[in-house]
Every structure is written in structure tokens, then in C-alpha cells.
Symmetry: C2
């Protein structure tokens, strides 16, 4: 088997596929690329059994071949080369031979038989979404996923096809984000849960153009450019998130987002005890924000201008969660919808684009004093 | 006690001094700044007992004060503030009070009595050197210091006042770098050994202007801008490095540095076994470079153009050390001065500026085959 390929195009393929190669695994075969030449098409695949990546390119090869090759070694060599023509062939010692004008590199390959089967997702139902839109939806929601395995459904992000559009929901029980892309309209209602690792790898892959999404009961496939990304879905029922979203939070607090965020970041420095608490003392035109660290005998108080319609109220939040929420919004102002110091608080941008809806919810914490 | 200071100038002082605060120490008092107001001069100091940093600024304070304050907490608060006037005072509860238009922050302070005495270096002998020149000397040499504590002298960089200029020498027994700044001429011969941590902290501090250096038998002081850096010296005898530098390496190999470096970086990928070996097969107009990883059954061979006067020779090097040396040179070409495959090899730039001399030495390794 022999073919020629430019080092930089080869690097591009390998760099796209390598994120699916696990860094630590008891199954050594997963540390390899599955490398296939079939009828003039070079296909490179990798999987960690949860996610898999696949990229292809046409090459003028003189025969077919299928093998596994150490992913890190091959990738390291190819990306270290300057922009040159590479001639790739196999030798009689089961080695892949990479040849340039000045050098020759040999890398052992092995039989592909132990490499796990990569699932195929049927392409009967297709959803098309702009890469930017999908990336934005994940950016807005995925920070709120649970890091604890106790309830597996909550360790992923929900994709829900609903009447109002494609919903993205993430929650860890303390906070919840619902993001709706209103331009994806379907005639059915369905739920899929994407695992955390899939979202993190996929978000890095997304750049220009559209993404085609295919879904089965167990897997999702995302195709963008010349790359296919497949992930296992979390096969659990997502919690009935709508029931925790309060409908009657009548007290509205409007604040400049970046000013509030900057204050909350300073409060983070002081609320570093176990409670990580920040106190919002809300009155008609002033929001007093305070935090205290009893261990170090330090405290902080700041005043932030606001508009507020409702009864004066002291309410406590986890400072890190508040920081997360404000960091993941991008409007000039944010609106807090409050009911009482013990009920869930809704935080929303004051303005959004026509095509989207953003709702963040944060449970308050009981104040120390 | 009360004074006003701009948040950004205060941040500048604290940011300069905080590198001397140890991150982990059994002596809790070292996690503090020593904070002093005396006759209108604010001085902030920190030390980890090996190095110390000190910076001062004039402030209009109404009284004197001396205390220790948690370094990280104070620095975190001050750098998180926007560009704003800060009013700093002490309250009756032993707390430092930082006040802005919008907020108040309290941080506990303690009596300074447990804070260690910071050594004073007499200013009788002064050496002045441009910051850039000192930084360059450390950059060229310090990578070759030993990481092993067995021979303490070699864990530092030697500063030697000699007839030909100020010499900087570092070695770990496998490689040695001698860098001479010929513009620093003194009428005495003396040796001082600067510890690794001091060089790493000092290199980051050096920016514009000159550095004034003062030396005692036990300590060195470096003053640049409004900051004084003091380090303990390593009180050992530096090895007689001149005796290992061969004088009669008659075989000269001249190679393009960046081409060779790029090849050596690729060899690094293959020589990842225990030996980390790269083989140079040198002949009149060709340098063949090869490496092999027996564990993974992979190998690499490249040819690099060269000029060579001498007998054809196969010589082995540690690939990582060769990479270090070539990375720390900056000439277009490098000259290898060789004698035999078992004798120290000298690597030098083909051209240097008038004011400097650069010599790197690398011991070969025994070839596997």
C-alpha cells in the first residue's frame, strides 16, 4: 500500500480525530487510530467507547489497507513536520513508512481486529443547525451540569425538541439553565441527553458552517465539515425540570450585569469559607452585596445601583454559582425575578435576540445570621 | 493610621512583592506581607527565607504603622478593583480597612514581631548592568543547572568576576554553559552562586533600565526600578569547570541551527525510551541523524546538510539535552567542536556580538549498537 499526502492536510485530519483517543485507558487498543484506505478514501477513526471521531480524505492509493497505529506517536511525528509532501507506505515488518525528501520514519502497525466497532447512527431524521448556534447553546447551558454521578441524567445536557424550538437544559439541582433556539422547529417532542465529555469535545470542533445532527435512541451523530462525531447518549429519564421553574416571581430587580459580575468576583475572595455565601440586601434603589470569611476575620460590602419593584429583602446565594451565571450571560443588564428569600430566583438577560430564549434559575442559600 | 493610594499603583507594588511569598510553608507568618508606613513611606516586603522582595512608595499617611497582612487575600482584593482611589486605614479590631466609593473591605492584620528579619546587603561594592543583559545571561545559562540536590553548588548558577568579564556558568555534569558578558570589567576575581529559585523569580522581575547588584559573602541584592530583590547565596565551592572544557577539539561541524533543531525535535518523539538517544553520523557534507524506540518498534532517520572537516564519526547524544542547547542558542549556524565519540563536544554560535562569549558543552552518550 502506498499513497502521497501533504503533511499539513494529514495533520489536520489527525488533529481532528485525536480528541477521541483516551489518555488513560486499560484497553490499550483505544490508544490507536483505526486507519483505513478503501478505494481511494483514507479514513482515520478513534474512540474511547463513549465518543468517537472520524475524518476522511481522498488519496491516490495503489491498494486497500486497514490497520491500527499508535495515535499519539503518529500525530506527534506528522505535526512536527514542515509543510511538505509525505509518501506513506507499509513495509514487510508491519511498519508504516513515512518518507520525505530528507527523512524516513517507521511506525509499527497492528491488525485492526481488536478495535471496537464504532456505532452507526441511521440518517433518517436530520436536523441542521449553524455551528455557531449549537456552540452558543452549549456555552450558555453546559456549565450548570452536575459533576456528581449520583443522578446520571443530570451529568449531561438535555436536548429537547419542543413546540417552541430546540431546548437545551442543564441542572445540578442548585441551578438550572434553559436555553431555547427558536429557529429549530420540528413536529415532534423528543428528549436526548448528551454526556459532558461529548459536549466539551464537540464544542472545540465546531467552527464554521452547519452541523447535521442524526439521533437514535442510544447515540447521536454530529457531522461538520469533513468530520463525524458520534456520542453515546445517557439512557436515563431527565428530571421534570419545568416543575421547579416558578411562575409567580413578582419582585423584579434590574442591575447592570458587568458591574454586578465585578462585585461578585470580589465577593468570591471573601466568601471562601465552607458556605461560600454572598448576601444581597435589596431595597428600592440600592443593592447592598456583602460577604464574610469568619476564618480569616475579613469581610466586604459593596453597593450597586439597581431598579427594584417589591418588598425589601435579604437573600443569600452561593457566590461561585452566582459568578457562573452572570459570566454566562451577555446582555447589558440582567433581571432577577424574586419571590422570597427561600424560593428559587430566576435570572434573565434584559434583552435577547428574536431567535432565542435564556432562563437561568438559582436556589438561594439560608443566610448565616 | 490612614492614607490614600490609587488601586493600580498599590496593585503594582503588591504584584511585584508577592512572588517571594511561599505557596506552601509550615511557617504561617511567611504567607503575609510585612507592611510598614514610616514617615510617609509605604514599604511592602515578603520572604520565603531564601529570597525576599521589597517595594516602596511615598504616601501621605497621618501616622506610622507596622503589621503583617495575609498576602494572597490583600493582593486578590486590590487587583480585583477597577482603577480607583483607595483609602486605607486601621480600625480598633486590628483590621485593615480598604474603602472605595462603593465598597468597604476589612482584612485582619497581626503584629509583625514573628516576621523574620530580612538580611541587609552592604552597598560598598556596586555593579551596574542593563536588565536586558542580565536577563539574557540567565536565559542562556540557567537551563543547564542541576535539578539534583546531591551537589548543592551545581543547583545554582555561578556568577564569576574574571579578567575577561562577568561569567555566568551552569552545569549538571552532563552539559555545561559558560556565558561571558565582556562589558562588566572589575579588578578582582570572585565567585558567587545564585540559587535556581532566585534566578527564576528575578528573571520575571527584570524589564527596563539598569540593575544595581550588591554582593556579600552570604547574600546578593538586585535593585531595579523601585524594587529590591535579595537572595541567599549557595555557600559552596563551585566545581573547577574550566578543567572539563576541552582545548583540542579539532573536528569542526557547521550546521544550520534551526534546521538541526527542528530535526532534533522530531528525534525526541522517537528517542523516548530510557536512553533518549540520538545518533549523529557525520561525514564530509552530510549529517545523518537517527533515533530509535525499541519499545514501540519505531525509528527515524534524517539527513541535514553540513560542512565538516575531520574524520567521519558516529556520536550519540541525549536528545533532550541537545534540544535544550540548540533552543538556547540564537545564531543562524552553530559549530560543533568534536574530538571523538567519547569526548565532550563543544557547541557554539557561529557569530556573537562583540560584548559576549557563549560556550555550551555536551557529554556524548555511548551508542547502543
Amino acid at each position: 500500500m502506498e499513497f502521497k499526502i501533504n503533511s499539513k492536510s494529514f495533520d489536520k485530519i489527525l488533529s481532528k480525530v485525536i480528541p477521541a483517543v483516551p489518555t488513560r485507558t486499560p484497553m490499550a487498543v483505544l490508544e490507536n487510530f483505526l486507519f483505513e484506505i478503501k478505494d481511494g478514501l483514507l479514513t482515520v477513526q478513534a474512540t474511547d467507547l463513549e465518543i468517537s471521531l472520524k475524518s476522511s480524505q481522498n488519496v491516490a492509493a495503489d491498494s486497500n489497507a486497514k490497520m491500527v497505529v499508535q495515535a499519539k506517536l503518529l500525530h506527534d511525528v506528522v505535526r512536527s513536520l514542515p509543510d511538505i509532501q509525505l509518501s506513506i507506505s507499509t513495509d514487510s515488518n508491519s511498519r508504516l513508512k513515512l518518507k520525505t525528501d530528507k527523512g524516513v520514519y517507521h511506525i509499527s502497525y497492528f491488525s485492526p481486529e481488536d478495535f471496537p466497532e464504532i456505532p452507526v447512527v441511521a440518517r433518517d431524521k436530520e436536523i441542521i443547525i449553524a455551528s455557531d448556534d449549537l456552540k452558543r447553546a452549549f456555552d450558555k447551558t453546559s456549565f450548570a451540569m452536575s459533576k456528581e454521578d449520583m443522578r446520571p441524567a443530570m451529568t449531561g445536557t438535555l436536548l429537547e425538541f419542543a413546540k417552541d424550538g430546540l431546548r437545551f437544559v442543564a441542572t445540578d439541582g442548585h441551578r438550572l439553565v434553559k436555553y431555547v433556539n427558536k429557529s429549530i422547529l420540528t413536529d415532534y417532542t423528543e428528549q436526548y441527553i448528551i454526556p459532558e465529555r461529548a459536549i466539551s469535545v464537540l464544542s472545540k470542533l465546531l467552527s464554521d458552517g452547519d452541523v447535521k445532527i442524526y439521533l437514535s435512541k442510544t447515540h447521536a451523530s454530529f457531522i461538520t465539515g469533513d468530520i463525524e462525531f458520534i456520542t453515546r447518549l445517557i439512557g436515563e429519564k431527565y428530571p421534570a425540570y419545568n416543575s421547579v421553574i416558578p411562575l409567580e416571581n413578582e419582585n423584579l430587580l434590574t442591575v447592570d450585569r458587568s458591574e454586578l459580575l465585578s462585585t461578585v468576583k470580589r465577593m468570591l475572595i471573601f466568601s471562601s469559607g465552607t458556605s461560600k455565601q454572598v448576601k444581597f440586601s435589596i431595597s428600592a434603589d440600592n443593592l447592598e452585596i456583602s460577604a464574610e470569611n469568619i476564618d480569616t476575620g475579613s469581610n466586604a460590602v459593596e453597593n450597586v445601583q439597581c431598579e427594584y419593584s417589591g418588598e425589601a429583602m435579604d437573600i443569600g446565594f452561593n457566590t461561585a454559582y452566582m459568578n457562573d451565571i452572570l459570566s454566562h450571560l451577555d446582555s447589558e443588564k440582567v433581571i432577577f425575578k424574586l419571590h422570597s428569600p427561600t424560593k428559587a430566583c430566576i435570572i434573565e438577560p434584559d434583552k435577547t435576540s428574536e431567535n432565542e430564549e435564556v432562563m437561568m434559575l438559582l436556589m438561594p442559600v439560608r443566610l448565616n445570621n
